[in-house]
């Protein structure tokens, strides 16, 4: 009994320390964004607690820098990436679920290989292709490239969602005279709703955060992560903090919403084969 009490204390110490480590960098972001600069950036030893709260930093940043352009571009790209993930991913996942195991495994491996090819290796040759195709510095071009990061995972997530639907339901629909496309889109997709929504959100999120393709393929019309990077390198720390805040808030909310699906089984999905 004593022993288990001791390990319980140890457990809570670990939890406390890990929580502290997780929160601290976000807390620093909060401090820089919301406390007067004399306590943060201008201090030789910045305060560990808010010396005061102010919106001046953010207001100056929003006034001095064009936030709307990059934010809109990030949003458009993220929605497009999410949409393409479903448009290509749903049929692909359905196809995989219908294939014999061996062939399905081959294709899964192929998709897995896509995730292993480094973004920077792909981005540089693509930039030349994009320039001639007028996709360089455009939202659709960037979305098409970022889709590479997202598609394999999307297909695995959707495959998992389809696999959990009883086969009989599908056969029943076919017997009742529904065509194949109708069966997939009007019966299976609604049943796999949770998986479909989480796939979209995860794709959205990964695009929202993506850096490598964005910096190489859309340097003149940058997305938010690129603007943050540029402002850090130029020493505009306050502006970066404002942008970083905007970039972080939606994903923190979405991570919480997606938590049910952020499970190891899904993230490792398909790689078990």
């Amino acid at each position: 009994m004593n022993n288990s009490k001791l390990s319980r204390t140890g457990l809570y110490i670990v939890i406390f320390l890990v929580s502290l480590a997780v929160i601290y960098p976000l807390y620093v972001l909060f401090l820089i964004a919301f406390s007067p600069v004399r306590y943060t950036l201008d201090a030789r030893y910045p305060l560990q607690y808010p010396g005061g709260l102010t919106l001046t930093n953010l207001l100056t940043a929003f006034k001095g820098f064009n936030l709307v352009g990059p934010a809109l571009r990030s949003i458009e790209t993220a929605f497009l990436v999410g949409a393409i993930a479903l448009v290509i991913g749903i049929p692909a996942a359905y196809g995989l679920s219908k294939l014999p195991r061996r062939q399905a495994n081959t294709i899964t491996t192929l998709l897995f290989l896509v995730n292993m090819l480094p973004a920077i290796v792909i981005a540089i040759p693509i930039s030349a292709q994009f320039i001639s195709a007028h996709l360089y510095n455009t939202v659709p071009g960037l979305a098409l490239a970022q889709e590479l990061v997202v598609l394999p995972l999307s297909v695995f997530l959707l495959l998992g969602a389809f696999d959990s639907i009883p086969r009989d339901l599908e056969y029943q629909a076919r017997v009742d005279g529904a065509g194949l496309l109708r069966t997939v889109y009007l019966i299976l997709v609604p049943l796999a709703k949770a998986g479909v929504v989480s796939t979209f959100l995860l794709a959205w999120m990964m695009s929202w955060d993506e850096f490598t393709f964005a910096v190489i393929l859309s340097p003149i019309n940058p997305t938010l992560p690129i603007v943050i990077y540029e402002n850090i390198t130029r020493g505009n720390i306050l502006a970066s903090s404002a942008f970083a805040l905007i970039l972080t808030l939606p994903v923190v909310v979405m991570t919480m919403l997606l938590q049910r699906y952020l499970k190891g089984e899904f993230l490792a999905g398909g790689l078990n084969g």
């Binding site: 319980r8 457990l11 670990v14 939890i15 890990v18 929580s19 997780v22 929160i23 601290y24 960098p25 976000l26 620093v28 972001l29 201090a43 030789r44 030893y45 910045p46 560990q48 290509i88 049929p91 692909a92 359905y94 196809g95 219908k98 294939l99 192929l110 896509v114 292993m116 090819l117 480094p118 973004a119 920077i120 290796v121 792909i122 540089i124 040759p125 693509i126 590479l148 598609l151 297909v155 999120m205 955060d209 850096f211 490598t212 943050i228 990077y229 970083a244 970039l247 972080t248 994903v251 923190v252 979405m254 991570t255 938590q259 952020l262 499970k263 190891g264 993230l267 490792a268 078990n272």
Partner: protein, 273 residues
């Protein structure tokens, strides 16, 4: 007969997309790494890279990847052993712990560049509270590496922990009970039960994270710029600053070779066991 091809029809968009946007550019990068404006199928780009510090970039990339993986797996094992147990506040802790997964790399880079700033940094301000002298977090190669490893691990430990947790959930508690009855302590249970049963999941986490570690890009770019040099930042530096884009193709190809070799190694090791 026709039925057999239907799954492939559904998979076709995904396969075409992947072939055109992933495999073709990768092949083209490898091909062009052996070209110069004046000659074909030569090694001169690679020779040039050797002169510009290719070996250094390789060593740094390998060292950083190994160190970051070590930190992430060590912490992930601790956290997943916590998460496998039941305790009050578990759902809050889980929600908190996965937040960094959703936070953009540039935002993590922003926070950590302020934490590890040499003057006016939050880490030094903490040290002062404990009566310790300030540190120069970029004073040496080793410190540079450590700073990047810690920042990277903050963002990426959650995914490792979630995958390991999935593995631990799949181990029957009966085995642990039996081992405990036989007098095996926690450490022996970890070595003789947890580790062998987790092999598949460890391999998956190792491939997913290892490949991303080789591709680490935004974080070193923000924290240390182009020195110490890594394969990704070297590729980008040659792409964005020099007249010859062929050097960046060569650097990218080296990166690709390491990523593929690493993945093959892990997969082979897993098969041999």
């Amino acid at each position: 007969m026709k039925e057999k091809y239907i799954p492939f029809l559904f998979l076709l968009p995904a396969l075409l997309y992947v072939a055109y946007f992933s495999f073709y550019p990768t092949a083209s990068a490898v091909y062009q790494s052996f070209q110069t404006p004046h000659a074909h199928f030569v090694l001169s780009n690679y020779k040039g890279l050797l002169y510009f510090g290719l070996s250094e970039a390789i060593l740094n990339t390998l060292f950083l990847s190994a160190g970051a993986l070590a930190i992430q797996f060590a912490v992930a094992f601790v956290v997943s052993s916590v998460l496998i147990r039941e305790f009050r506040g578990k759902s809050v802790f889980t929600a908190l712990f996965v937040i960094p997964f959703g936070v953009a790399t540039v935002v993590a880079g922003f926070s950590f560049s302020n934490i590890f700033a040499t003057t006016g940094g939050y880490a030094n301000s903490l040290l002062r509270i404990f009566g310790l002298p300030p540190l120069n977090w970029y004073s040496s190669w080793g410190m540079d590496m450590l700073t990047i490893m810690v920042s990277d691990s903050w963002k990426n430990t959650p995914i490792v922990a979630l995958i390991l947790l999935a593995g631990m959930t799949s181990i029957s508690p009966e085995i642990y009970k039996a081992a405990a009855l036989d007098g095996a302590g926690p450490l022996r249970r970890f070595i003789h039960i947890t580790l062998p049963n987790l092999k598949g999941y460890i391999a998956i986490a190792l491939v997913i994270r290892g490949v991303s570690e080789f591709n680490i890009f935004a974080l070193p770019l923000i924290l240390v710029g182009y020195r110490p040099v890594f394969l990704t930042t070297m590729t980008y530096e040659f792409y964005s600053t020099t007249a010859s884009v062929y050097y960046s193709y060569a650097a990218a190809t080296v990166l690709l070779a390491f990523v593929l070799a690493f993945s093959l190694l892990v997969i082979k090791m897993r098969e041999n066991h």
